[in-house]
């Protein structure tokens, strides 16, 4: 299995050609109960102008991954290993202070809850100005003009006046626009959006996604979109990484993952996704069981305790840990079910019911 990227022995040390490349990322938190392996050997690549969707349940390691890229764990007790290459620069091992110039500048982040993510005591103008001036030596007036310009760009009406308002004076969608304006104020080449639409109304969600897509075209930035909502991914992403128990269980283009998913967990996600574009044939099927403990991962396939297809493989599911195996140039899957068989299950048993 020399092809698998998560074999650390064969980890290449040369700078990659991709804009962002994450190689065999491990993030572990020591706790009194044991080591929490939040991210356990994750690899992916994102090019400029492209969007990578990272999908998974809570606790699957998606947010931890994004924070690891920003170096937010570097000053805590978390242990980070592997490689994170951003535009030819390796970030793992750098101190928080060394990464700081990149934060908000080359890479920026949008968070899930725009209300709690904005400081309640400062005007949005102040907060955007602060974000701009920390990386650009300009006067307050110049920075404020820039803030107004950004607010205008993200669609805040009457931006010149609203720049002096406080976060609580905005609606949820407007607040997220403010967050986006703040994230983009320094023209970041990488934008990480952690559940950017989860807290918003469905109609507002669509507007925000449209906005992100437009801005991506304009700034040619790479986007990592973290979500538990496959619908959002389908809407905006080019590539998808499905995470489970701190690992990637399926990676591929949107087409690969949505039209020929190979991993029972991905099937479960797809089955639990409400769709408006087709007639409903039955009830949504939630995935049975709970996400695994990240301290004591199950033997064999991490998903095996919840997997309803376990009997089709046999003992391997609970004894051997499957590798992330390529099924095509763009598509990799971590499952003991042989590719042909899973193809059949998807096409014959599952897809018609969705």
């Amino acid at each position: 299995m020399t092809q698998t990227i998560d074999s650390s022995a064969s980890l290449p040390s040369a700078p990659p050609t991709s804009f962002l490349e994450v190689r065999d990322l491990h993030v572990t938190f020591p706790t009194d109960d044991g080591m929490v392996r939040s991210v356990d050997g994750l690899s992916f690549k994102v090019e400029r102008g492209k969007t990578m969707g990272i999908v998974g349940e809570s606790g699957s390691g998606k947010s931890v991954t994004s924070q690891a890229i920003l170096g937010l764990h570097n000053s805590t007790r978390a242990q980070v290993s592997g490689q994170i290459w951003l535009d030819g620069e390796e970030l793992v091992g750098k101190s928080s202070e060394e990464i700081r110039p990149l934060r908000g500048n080359k890479m920026a982040m949008i968070f899930q809850d725009p209300l709690s993510s904005l400081h309640p005591f400062y005007t949005i103008g102040d907060q955007i100005v602060e974000a701009y001036r920390v990386h650009n030596k300009v006067s307050k007036d110049v920075a404020k003009k820039r803030a107004i310009e950004m607010l205008d760009r993200v669609g805040i009406p009457n931006a010149a006046k609203r720049v002096d308002d406080y976060p609580h004076q905005f609606s949820g969608g407007m607040r997220q626009r403010v967050m986006i304006a703040m994230a983009l104020v320094c023209d970041p080449q990488l934008l990480i959006a952690d559940e950017p639409t989860t807290a918003l109304d469905v109609t507002v969600q669509a507007q925000i996604l449209d906005l992100m897509r437009d801005l991506q075209k304009e700034f040619n930035s790479a986007i990592i979109l973290i979500t538990h909502d496959l619908g959002v991914v389908a809407e905006i992403a080019d590539d998808v990484t499905v995470m489970y128990g701190g690992r990637a269980v399926e990676q591929g283009s949107v087409r690969d993952v949505f039209y020929s998913p190979q991993m029972p967990y991905t099937w479960g996600l797809l089955a639990s996704m409400p769709r408006l574009d087709r007639d409903r044939k039955g009830r949504l099927d939630p995935i049975p069981g709970n996400p695994p403990s990240l301290i004591n991962l199950p033997n064999g396939c991490v998903f095996s305790p919840r997997c309803v297809y376990r009997d089709r493989v046999g003992a391997a599911c609970v004894t051997d840990r499957p590798d992330l195996t390529p099924v095509s140039d763009t598509h990799r899957v971590r499952c003991h079910i042989p590719a042909e068989q899973s193809q059949r299950i998807w096409l014959n048993e599952l897809n018609p019911n969705l």
Binding site: F111, H119, P120, F121, T123, E130
Partner: protein, 336 residues
């Protein structure tokens, strides 16, 4: 804003009126109704009923109770001229705010309070400086170095001063610094204007007693608030923006974490301004607290009433100030 403050002030007046009414009832009416006239305390042995009546007249206790209360309230607002000191016209003026004449000192209560207040104010200001700087400093430091040596050391400090009875602590200070090491003379209050050095020497132990005890409380509170704030989403945003840690801590975390603490501090300070009975007694500092003790002992009802109303005033006003300040700090709070 102005309308809000006016409305709050009117509310405060109502509260003070009720406090006055209750205190008046408790201290002036109940003893008279139960036949326990304070006049007996000033009458010597075998007082004739005429003597008691005359002393009661001097104390203003012979008028109908509603009239007494009306005159009392009127005195606070407009002063009064009906209080006797035996002069030809049977009166001497007691300018507003008139809380009546002390039974014991036969001096306007307001003058006595004004005379004693600087002591309590000195105690309060010094103690507040200590407890706020020490409490907040220790709290912030231990929150930022959570689990580290500084945090553990501050935990010891907090536990020590929260569990050490302040009476014991005060006596300990007295024995060590005054009688043991002799670094300080036995405490005797001297006004700041007279001798800043002696003023400081007289107050430092009182400041430390209140300051350290409260600092422990504030450190615990600050630490908890800081930890909570540091885990807020907006702090993560600030870090993600690339702000230096110093800016994150000072501008983003501390402002949010300390706002509720300053609210509590405002009320604590107001409470202390009403008289720090315990330290005033231990360190023989003649402030409002000792005055209160004396007045209780001597059944000096006007002084008790005056002190109760003045200390309620401090609390009510502090409440308004704190609320207005809070709205200035936190834009989410609107005064309406």
């Amino acid at each position: 804003m102005v309308r809000y403050i006016i409305r709050r002030l009117l509310g405060a007046l109502a509260v003070l009126f009720i406090v006055s009414l209750v205190t008046f009832g408790l201290f002036m009416v109940v003893p008279v109704m139960t036949g326990a006239s304070p006049a007996y305390l000033y009458a010597g042995k075998n007082p004739s009923p005429e003597l008691i009546a005359n002393i009661e007249h001097g104390l203003g206790l012979d008028k109908p109770i509603p009239e007494q209360f009306y005159m009392y309230m009127k005195g606070i607002v407009a002063g009064r001229t009906d209080l006797t000191d035996g002069t030809a016209d049977g009166s001497r003026p007691c300018p507003a705010p008139c809380f009546g004449y002390s039974f014991r000192y036969q001096s306007p209560v307001w003058d006595i309070i004004k005379d004693r207040f600087p002591v309590t104010l000195s105690i309060t200001v010094g103690a507040a400086i200590i407890w706020l700087s020490l409490g907040i400093g220790v709290g912030v430091l231990s929150a930022l170095r959570r689990g580290g040596f500084a945090d553990r050391a501050s935990m010891v400090f907090i536990l020590l001063f929260l569990s050490l009875p302040s009476y014991l602590f005060a006596i300990l200070l007295l024995y060590v610094f005054v009688y043991g090491l002799k670094w300080l003379p036995p405490t005797q209050y001297v006004p700041l204007t007279e001798s800043p050095v002696k003023w400081f020497q007289a107050l430092i132990l009182a400041w430390i007693t209140i300051g350290f005890g409260s600092a422990a409380l504030y450190a615990r509170l600050t630490r908890a608030n800081m930890l909570e704030t540091m885990s807020e989403d907006y702090i993560r945003t600030a870090v993600a923006k690339g702000l230096p840690r110093k800016t994150v801590v000072r501008k983003h975390a501390m402002r949010a974490a300390l706002t509720p603490i300053l609210t509590i501090a405002g009320l604590d300070i107001a409470f202390l301004l009403g008289g720090a009975i315990f330290v005033e007694k231990v360190f023989s500092l003649p402030g409002l607290g000792l005055l209160f003790v004396e007045a209780i002992g001597k059944q000096d009802l006007p002084v008790i009433m005056g002190l109760t109303i003045v200390s309620s005033l401090f609390i009510v006003v502090a409440n308004i100030i704190v609320d207005v300040l809070y709205s200035a700090v936190d834009p989410r709070v609107r005064l309406s």
